[in-house]
Subunit: 139 residues, 2 copies
Amino acid sequence: MRYTIGEVAKKFNLNISTLRYYDKEGLIPNLEKNESGNRIFDEEAISGLITIECLKKSGMSIKDIKTFIDWCQEGNETLKDRLEMFLARREALQSQIKELESTLNYIDYKVEYYTKAVADGTEKIVKEQMSNPRLLKMQ
Amino acid sequence: MRYTIGEVAKKFNLNISTLRYYDKEGLIPNLEKNESGNRIFDEEAISGLITIECLKKSGMSIKDIKTFIDWCQEGNETLKDRLEMFLARREALQSQIKELESTLNYIDYKVEYYTKAVADGTEKIVKEQMSNPRLLKMQ
DNA sequence: CCTAAATCTAAAGTTAGGTCTATGTCTATG
DNA sequence: CATAGACATAGACCTAACTTTAGATTTAGG
């Protein structure tokens, strides 16, 4: 299948200018254009965008994604670099998830705290009762 | 305990100017100053900063954190707002974690892919073999 | 065929969240 | 008691990742 920029924008829930910006930054190599200059996204471009979205979600910068895309163009010589990059991304993601889980734990405590405060109609009581061990552990 | 801005910056691994910026933005209400104007962070300021860091990690903007801090100053009238905010934060965090886990799943696939590619010395073989079901599911 | 909607480029503008600079005062130590 | 290091303010600057604008061209449907 082949898509216009508008179709792709809708598909990925991205702004059209974001796609043009990615193209300008070199994230979509070999992007076809028709005779009058309109971009045509083929399966390869789409699958590239899926990877870009994934790397973005993993916290990578556009610049670093560009480096990866360049490696892909360079062929088998860069396979090891690419593997190492994904291994590093995996580590990064795993610790991000751990951090979010610990943040969630603190939020859970706050939910408990304010649930009680709302029930009491005042913060005073819960403030005295919950000099919380979990909170102390976090510091 | 009472701390100088430098000590707090070290404790939280924040830039000194970031703390001044937070102060300017109103995130640290009732911050004491000594006679010559130097900031003094007491237990309350520190515990506020812990909450700020937590809310930041949960993806909240400085502006929204400010709204919360203001609610805290306003007293018991805003308890319900605060509870609702933390409930919303919890939801947000839970879906962030889910999204990161799904991203991790895709990265895992890429690791597998490139591990095989590196072993083969070429991408060609793995590219043909792994027209991956997991990948297809993601799209 | 006509016109609204989609696309193009280049370049300027925006936003969040800091970070840095210049200039001056304060403080702690040998 | 000198002086290096910490702190202060105001305001300029920075970066990433878009987003908007202006002005021109193309495409698609009635």
